[in-house]
């Protein structure tokens, strides 16, 4: 997936939903972590080492 033209976390999530429509509902519930730090939807998407899609957590 080419993410170079995407500017925010929100745009990344939208692109994931477009590319993987069967996962669209799941992506909506996920958070995005960039280099192991959670990001908000309006945070900028900057070129980093790793982008992780984190499903709702359920530890404890």
């Amino acid at each position: 997936m080419n993410i170079s033209r995407l500017e925010t976390i929100e745009e990344l999530k939208e692109e994931l939903k477009r590319k993987y429509p069967s996962l669209a509902n799941d992506v909506s519930q996920c958070k995005i972590a960039v280099d192991m730090t959670f990001k908000q939807d309006d945070d900028p998407l900057e070129a980093k080492q790793e982008i992780a899609v984190i499903p709702p957590v359920s530890g404890g």
């Binding site: 499903p55 709702p56 530890g59 404890g60």
Partner: protein
């Protein structure tokens, strides 16, 4: 003192209590989250825990550091991974402070935040089916 850990072996409470023992502290709160057999009308037989381990350790450490700097507390947090049976300890949180209010408050903060932001997941084996995340308030039935 902060010690956070993920482990596949059973949690030995005594081992971790010794770590937070501090002669200047009189409030030592140990919280053990265990596997419950019944939730609403669903019977659970086992839970498997998985983690994004490197990030989970980082998040646990960040939580513990918040509590350490607020209360000057000594803290241990240990979470099991792998397959657990009913009554097994899934998570142990120890907070040691000079007086008891801060030990209670710090412990409560860590478990509530852990459930929101530490990348650990459970696969719950129930009598009727397998549930990722278990039965949650958001209607994950």
């Amino acid at each position: 003192m902060i010690d956070v850990k993920l482990q596949y072996e059973p949690i030995d409470i005594g081992e971790f209590f010794n770590k937070i023992s501090n002669p200047h502290h009189g409030g030592n709160n140990l919280f053990a989250g265990t596997i419950r057999d019944i939730t609403e009308d669903v019977q659970t037989t086992a839970i498997e825990y998985y983690a994004y381990e490197e990030m989970a350790i980082q998040e646990l450490r960040s939580l513990a550091e918040e509590v350490e700097s607020r209360f000057k507390a000594d803290i241990i947090v240990v979470h099991r991974l792998g397959r657990l049976e009913v009554s097994d300890i899934a998570v142990l949180i120890g907070v040691s402070t000079p007086h008891r209010p801060e030990a209670y408050e710090g412990s409560r903060y860590i478990i509530e935040e852990l459930k929101k932001r530490v990348p650990i997941w459970k696969k719950e084996f129930d009598h009727d089916k397998v549930r990722w995340g278990g039965i949650r308030d958001d209607g994950n039935h």
